[in-house]
């Protein structure tokens, strides 16, 4: 059941109200039953729009690249939704989200919607939240979605995995690029970009990457390596071409279908997980403390405690 306030918001959303869209994004970012209800209602509208993940080490020019990508797509009259994810401070929980700086004047383009998200120290919930935000943007009526994340870590890779095409961006000089390669980011890459390709070390980096790719076992898709100079808008056409070729490949090879099935399975499982956990905690919350006492006194172990609690819960339902 959707709260009446949200019914109004959803209705405004359906009519293209951007404030409503932003509010629904906040709702799903924060999660909860109302968020789920909204996502449930929006679900039928999804699945038609390519999602491009752009990731890579800090400082390689991702935001500038995203900016040029957006402009390129806008020239073809495509509406672009962007989610830009930046890390929250582990100390304060706060964050400075600065990706908009690079996309400044696009703010007033009605065909572009940019949303900045903080990782919020999440333990895996981030990939889901990012996907949910992308879902809202897709349902709002964008033709292409870009999800930008920074880093070389597992979280970024999870987010990237939610995209149809993952673009990994490196730049010639940063040693971080090498780290990226070692951290497994290369494995998730569907397209590799060497930005700041006007730097002297660019040629060498491209050759290194291509050589690495050659060493891999043969696969239906080999990531192309594209050179860009994002600050000058150079190489962007080649990049969008590589991305759309990948998307075509996904469709033709049936991989897109496979991934969708996979994702549906994972999503059902994740939502189920959440629901079950919430339910269990609700039902058993007041029994945790006494059991903990018993464990500390040596009269039970956490394992026997959990077994007993589960048995009690299942008994309730039978």
């Amino acid at each position: 059941m959707l709260e009446s306030r949200l019914v109004t918001t959803l209705s405004a959303f359906d009519q293209g109200d951007r404030r409503a869209a932003a509010r629904l994004i906040s709702l799903v970012e924060n999660g909860g039953p109302q968020a789920e209800e909204v996502l449930h209602r929006l679900y039928p509208r999804l699945g038609r729009v390519p999602r491009i993940g752009i990731t890579g080490p800090p400082g390689v020019g991702k935001s500038t690249l995203v900016d040029t990508l957006i402009r390129h797509h806008r020239q073809n009259d495509l509406r672009v939704g962007v989610v830009a994810v930046d890390p929250s401070s582990p100390f304060s929980g706060g964050a400075v989200l600065g990706d908009r700086v690079r996309m400044g004047d696009l703010a007033t383009d009605p065909g572009v919607f940019i949303r900045s998200m903080a990782t919020r120290g999440s333990l895996g919930g981030l990939a889901r939240a990012t996907k949910d935000v992308a879902d809202v943007l897709e349902a709002f009526g964008h033709d292409i979605l870009i999800i930008e994340t920074v880093g070389v870590g597992q979280t970024e890779m999870d987010i990237a995995a939610a995209a149809d095409t993952v673009v990994v961006v490196v730049s010639p000089e940063s040693g971080d690029s090498i780290q990226a390669m070692k951290a497994g980011l290369m494995e998730v890459a569907d397209v590799l970009v060497v930005n700041k390709a006007d730097r002297p070390a660019a040629g060498q980096m491209m050759r290194t990457l291509e050589a690495d790719l050659h060493l891999r076992p043969a696969a239906p898709w080999t990531p192309p390596v594209v050179a860009t100079i994002a600050s000058r808008g150079e190489g962007v056409a080649e990049l969008t071409d590589a991305v759309s070729r990948h998307y075509d490949h996904l469709q033709e090879s049936g991989t897109l279908e496979e991934r969708r099935l996979d994702r549906a399975r994972t999503e059902i499982a994740a939502i189920l997980d959440d629901r079950l956990r919430q339910h269990a905690h609700q039902r058993l919350a007041d029994q945790l403390a006494p059991w903990a006492e018993l464990v500390v006194q040596g009269e039970a172990t956490p394992y026997s405690a959990a077994r007993s609690l589960l048995a009690a819960l299942l008994e309730e339902h039978s």
């Binding site: 400082g59 935001s63 500038t64 400075v96 600065g98 990706d99 700086v101 690079r102 400044g104 600050s231 000058r232």
Partner: protein, 545 residues
């Protein structure tokens, strides 16, 4: 003597949060310095007499006895007419040099009637969109007879072209014109953010002006390599020193790469520093600056002309030290800061007015600021001897430490590939943001006291000082002038002039003659900048918080 606590030479000292014995830059202050601490100091090598290499003690033998520093109050607001009045007022009160403050639209290369100029025309400085405005600005002021400093950066070459054309129309011999063009684009990328084009074409514009000045206007300082703004952005004194000089070296490198001989242009490079609250840190900074520059110019760049080794500078007292609370106290702060500038051997000086935390100076407050300098020159005795603090154990030690600190930064900048790569990567910006953050936190935990603000507060204080108000009609008047200008000018000459600029920019030739022609054809500042944007593009900076 072993009781003396020695200063750490580390630049990145993060003193104990309760230690109040730190400068405004966060540097620990020694309680006592003794002869042992400066045992290695050599008078000939490290100090020299004033007017002698390495110029630690001053650039001229006679310094202020020969000629008192120029009293040059940075001024400008509203229309050219209104600022012209303020210039005459200041000259009447005894100022000895002119200094032009332009409004934000002008600083950003936009005409007063540009959509971005809404609400900004004449607010921070004078609105100058055309040669006509420039002529009005100096109406009745013979440019041949007074040195004029212009604080303008991205559009500097064009504003200079207007100044040159205005002076010509006054009948001046341009080869004899004296003054300074700030024209320091590197510090814009680093600190003040008034950039327009990317670094490469921006540097090219600077080199064009240096080249033109070297050939046509040998008495004009074509650049004022600035630390003031870097300091105002929150840097430490050592950072101000190091980043300014690094910028200076970058300009030298660029000019040499453009084919100029170092001894041709170096004598006309000038500098501009902040004079902040910590008296001795500032004095040491100024002395170290002269010594560092002299050493690098002679030993590294192999300049032969002794005038190439001289670091001449203008000083402005620290704007960021001014308070809105108990504003009369700013007179006191400014006086101390001015003293530091003079004891540090500055060539010219601007003193801030007490109301500047909230507004541009009123007539009353700028008069007091000017009189502050006059008292310093005539009543305090500091103008009758040169570099009186030389030989002080404390000051000499501090001077050497500032130099060492700067050299450490030079190494790091070189490792980053030089000034331009470092600023594109955000190196300077990060250092400055960290220093600014430290300072604010130091204030909030009361490690730093600011009288009237976090201590000795008057709780019922009300803002009572009458503040300068910018006439509401400035924008309208400018719009009318611009409309009339566009009406009366010749479309052909105007169009041809802009075409010439575009062509020259594409070909890489020196743009100064084309700028002068264009301003005489009544091209506006905005039109010229827009033309350049089509060739050079616009710059977006890296995000550093």
């Amino acid at each position: 003597m072993s009781d003396a606590k020695s200063l750490t030479a580390s630049l990145y000292t993060r003193p104990d949060d309760n230690d109040k014995h730190v400068t405004v830059s966060g540097r620990e202050i020694s309680p006592l310095v003794t002869p042992d601490d400066v045992a290695d100091l050599d008078y000939q090598q490290d100090l020299g007499n004033p007017g002698e290499y390495p110029y630690t003690r001053g650039v001229h033998a006679s310094m202020y006895r020969g000629k008192v520093w120029t009293m040059r109050q940075f001024a400008g607001f509203g229309t050219a007419e209104q600022t012209n009045e303020r210039y005459r007022f200041l000259m009447g009160r005894g100022q000895t040099g002119l200094s032009v403050a332009f409004d934000l639209p002008t600083l950003m290369g936009r005409d007063s009637d540009d959509e971005w100029s809404l609400g900004e025309v004449g607010k921070c400085g004078v609105a100058i969109s055309s040669l006509q405005d420039m002529e009005t600005l100096f109406d009745g002021i013979p440019l041949a007879d007074i040195s004029t400093s212009m604080t303008i950066n991205s559009p500097a070459a064009i504003i200079w072209a207007m100044y040159i054309a205005a002076a010509e129309r006054q009948g001046a011999d341009i080869a004899k014109l004296r003054g300074t063009l700030q024209n320091d684009i590197l510090k814009e990328f680093i600190a003040q953010k008034e950039f327009i084009f990317p670094p490469e074409p921006s540097m090219k514009l600077v080199t064009d002006t240096i080249e033109f000045g070297t050939r046509e206007m040998p008495q004009f300082n074509t650049i004022s390599i600035s630390g003031y703004h870097i300091r105002e952005a929150g840097s430490t004194a050592v950072q101000e020193l190091a980043f300014t000089l690094a910028d200076g070296f970058a300009y030298v490198d660029h000019a040499i790469a453009a084919g100029l001989d170092v001894d041709e242009f170096a004598p006309r490079l000038s500098f501009f520093f902040n004079s902040h609250l910590d008296l001795f840190e500032e004095i040491a900074k100024f002395r170290a600056a002269r010594r560092i520059w002299a050493r690098h110019m002679k030993d590294r760049y192999k300049a032969k002309n002794p005038r190439s080794w001289l670091l001449r500078f203008h000083t402005q007292t620290a704007g960021c030290s001014l308070t809105a609370q108990q504003p009369h106290l700013n007179i006191v702060r400014t006086a101390y800061e001015a003293l530091a500038g003079v004891l540090g051997g500055t060539q010219s000086l601007h003193t801030n007015s007490m109301d500047e935390a909230l507004a541009l100076p009123s007539e009353e407050s700028v008069e007091i600021a000017l009189r502050t300098q006059q008292i310093l020159a005539h009543e305090i005795g500091v103008a009758s001897t040169t570099d009186p603090l030389a030989g002080s154990y404390f000051v000499e030690k501090l001077t050497s430490e500032m130099e060492a600190g700067a050299e450490e930064y030079f190494t790091r900048i070189n490792e980053a590939g030089g000034v331009v790569p470092a600023l594109e990567e955000g190196f300077f910006q990060r250092e400055i943001a960290d220093a600014a953050h430290w300072y604010q936190m130091a204030l909030e935990r009361k490690q730093r006291v600011v009288v009237g603000v976090n201590e000795y507060v008057n709780p019922d204080e009300k803002q009572a000082m009458p503040l300068l108000h910018i006439d509401k009609d400035v924008a309208r008047k400018q719009n009318e002038k611009l409309a009339a200008l566009r009406e009366r000018r010749s479309t052909e000459t105007h169009g041809a002039a802009l075409t010439r600029i575009e062509q020259t920019a594409r070909d890489g030739g020196n743009l100064m003659p084309a700028f002068v022609e264009a301003v005489k054809a009544d091209a506006t500042l905005g039109e010229i900048i827009e033309t350049l944007k089509t060739v050079y593009g616009e710059y977006v900076e890296p995000i550093i918080i």
